[in-house]
């Protein structure tokens, strides 16, 4: 992507990047691995109700995600993470370790950050769930998303949505002004590339603007 956000217009959509950077072969490969019902993940349409085959033992539930109600029929074993990614096909939330050790799956439930991999979807009817898709749009970024771009708070980007969801929640938590306090409250989000210094800088900038 753009090396210098100051001189280069930044397209924050990684998926659009894949489609426009000449790597059409890569897009073909990715599409081949997506189930047909997940096509909305490639081309966001805002419509994510999907028809799925009947699942034995499935339970009906309405989940409110990013301000929209989703009427779903899900296996009780479905974690909130798998429900968001596979059933509702909002793939911005990432699965890292799936055991509460990495923070990649961080979402907000009623405004508080939680790990969606260690929650069952069935626990969350009536809750307001927010994912990275509900934070901002490519045309109207959340200030924290903008700060991550400005400060290059990522390399591969896999942990980034979790980092940003944590960082946005941190804005409302008791957190000292110094970098050490930010690092402590961000310690549940692991970045394997090691972009920590830039992540802390991005968060501190967003806190100053907030």
């Amino acid at each position: 992507m753009a090396d210098n956000p100051q001189s280069d217009p930044v397209d924050p959509s990684r998926r659009r990047f894949l489609k426009t950077s000449g790597t059409t072969a890569a897009v073909g490969v990715i599409s081949a691995y997506l189930p047909p019902h997940a096509s909305s993940a490639v081309e966001p349409t805002g419509e994510s109700e999907v028809n799925r085959p009947t699942i034995e033992g499935a339970v009906p539930i309405t989940l409110r995600i990013n301000g929209k109600d989703h009427k779903l029929n899900i296996d009780p074993r479905t974690t909130l993470l798998d429900c968001i990614r596979e059933t509702v096909t909002l793939t911005g939330t990432k699965k890292g370790c799936d055991h509460g050790q990495c923070g990649a799956c961080t979402v907000h439930v009623d405004g508080k950050r939680v790990l969606s991999c260690l929650n069952l979807a069935l626990m969350h009817d009536g809750h307001e769930i927010t994912t990275i898709e509900g934070l901002g749009t490519p045309d109207a970024l959340h200030p924290m998303q903008k700060a991550f771009l400005d400060y290059d708070g990522y390399q591969c980007g896999y942990c980034t949505s979790g980092q940003i969801m944590s960082a946005v929640a941190l804005l409302k938590e008791p957190c000292g002004p110094d970098d050490a306090s930010v690092k402590e409250l961000m310690s549940g989000n692991i970045c394997r590339c090691g972009a920590y210094a830039n992540i802390v800088a991005a968060i501190q900038q967003a806190r100053k603007r907030a």
Binding site: G57, V59, D75, P76, R77, T79, D98, H99, G100, G103, T106, K112, R113, V114, L115, C117, L118, N119, L120, L122, M123, S166, A169, L170, E173, P174, K183, E184, L185, M186, S187, G188, N189
Partner: protein, 332 residues
């Protein structure tokens, strides 16, 4: 993950009645209460926990934190760790509890994890978590590979020939030092259990970790009135600066008058098979001058019964220095 029925009982009585049908409330329970899910869902994914029924108790009215008539504190079973740690009364009067919680897990997990769930947190012993391995705690009678295997992080206090697993909780270490009481409701009625009696030593039945029986629902935890003027500290030593379990930790509640220690409550974490209250250290401190020599004697007393595993002899000295440093810092 095994299949299960997801049930949301309308009130505590219904939850207790549903849980009373379980064969056990210990390892292998076929009915489980679901709080934050941070331990249970993790272990269900590993097939270490395989309940047939999951009872979601998150919407029961058990999440209040309030002052009791005697000036103590009543903490609801489903109060979140973060709500407890940031509660103004806890930060002012029971700061060792706030410190312990905030040094455990991550901000996300603290927002999810409940107080009762933390009382039932399971060990991080790698053999317990891996169903391909023998483990006396998970499958009684299969053996303990940790005794001759990877045991660097495991217990040096309270272990048996059957099990050397460490209790991983930080919150419980502070609750042990604060003389907390666990309140339990069951089909037979309600009862109160002193914190030191709630967790069991592994002995020959490491699958039994607490006094809980089928149908027992922890409703709340109480703390006695705060010790005015006490100095409180939780010190945690670990392999990385944050988001890591303790190799050794110390919860210290000290009252000092004219340079002498008039009252001491001491508990250790990361070293015991249960949250480790140390009456030996308390006896070595009480009535003595608050000096470095006294603190070191107390640490020696606390670890006198320690027996290292093959990989963790270092923990004895680490725990001693941890307690000594915590006492010195608290007294300063």
């Amino acid at each position: 993950m095994h299949t299960f029925e997801f049930i949301r009982p309308p009130d505590p009585a219904a939850a207790i009645a549903a849980a009373a049908k379980a064969k056990t409330a210990q390892q292998g329970a076929d009915v489980r209460f679901m709080g934050g899910g941070t331990t249970l869902i993790d272990l269900m994914k590993l097939n270490v926990e395989t309940p047939n029924r999951v009872l979601d108790i998150n919407r029961l009215p058990l999440d209040k934190i309030e002052t009791t008539a005697d000036g103590g504190l009543k903490i609801g079973a489903t109060a979140r760790n973060s709500d407890l740690a940031y509660h103004a009364t806890v930060q002012r009067d029971y700061s060792v509890l706030s410190q312990a919680i905030l040094q455990g897990a991550s901000a996300q997990i603290r927002n999810m994890a409940t107080v009762a769930g933390n009382l039932l947190q399971r060990t991080r012993c790698v053999y317990f978590r891996d169903t391909a391995m023998p483990c006396n705690k998970r499958e009684p009678g299969t053996g303990c590979p940790a005794i001759t295997g990877h045991n660097r992080t495991l217990a040096i206090l309270g272990a048996s020939e059957q099990c050397v697993a460490t209790n991983p909780s930080d919150m419980c270490v502070a609750l042990a030092a604060l003389d907390a009481v666990v309140h339990i409701q069951s089909p037979k009625g309600s009862r109160a259990v002193a914190f030191g009696d709630f967790h069991l030593l592994p002995g020959s039945t490491p699958q039994r970790e607490t006094v809980l029986e089928s149908g027992d629902l922890i409703t709340h935890v109480t703390l006695p009135p705060p010790i005015r003027g006490s100095k409180q500290l939780y010190l945690k030593l670990r392999d990385r600066a944050s988001y890591e379990f303790a190799l050794a930790s110390a919860a210290v509640v000290l009252t000092i008058s004219s340079g002498n220690i008039t009252r001491a409550r001491i508990a250790l974490g990361g070293v015991g098979t249960k949250p480790w209250r140390s009456p030996e250290a308390e006896a070595a401190l009480t009535g003595k001058p608050a000096t470095g020599a006294t603190f070191r004697q107390a640490a020696d007393a606390a670890l006198q019964a320690a027996k290292p595993q093959s990989e963790n002899r270092f923990k004895i000295e680490l725990a001693k220095r941890c307690l000594t440093h915590a006492l010195r810092t608290a007294a300063a």
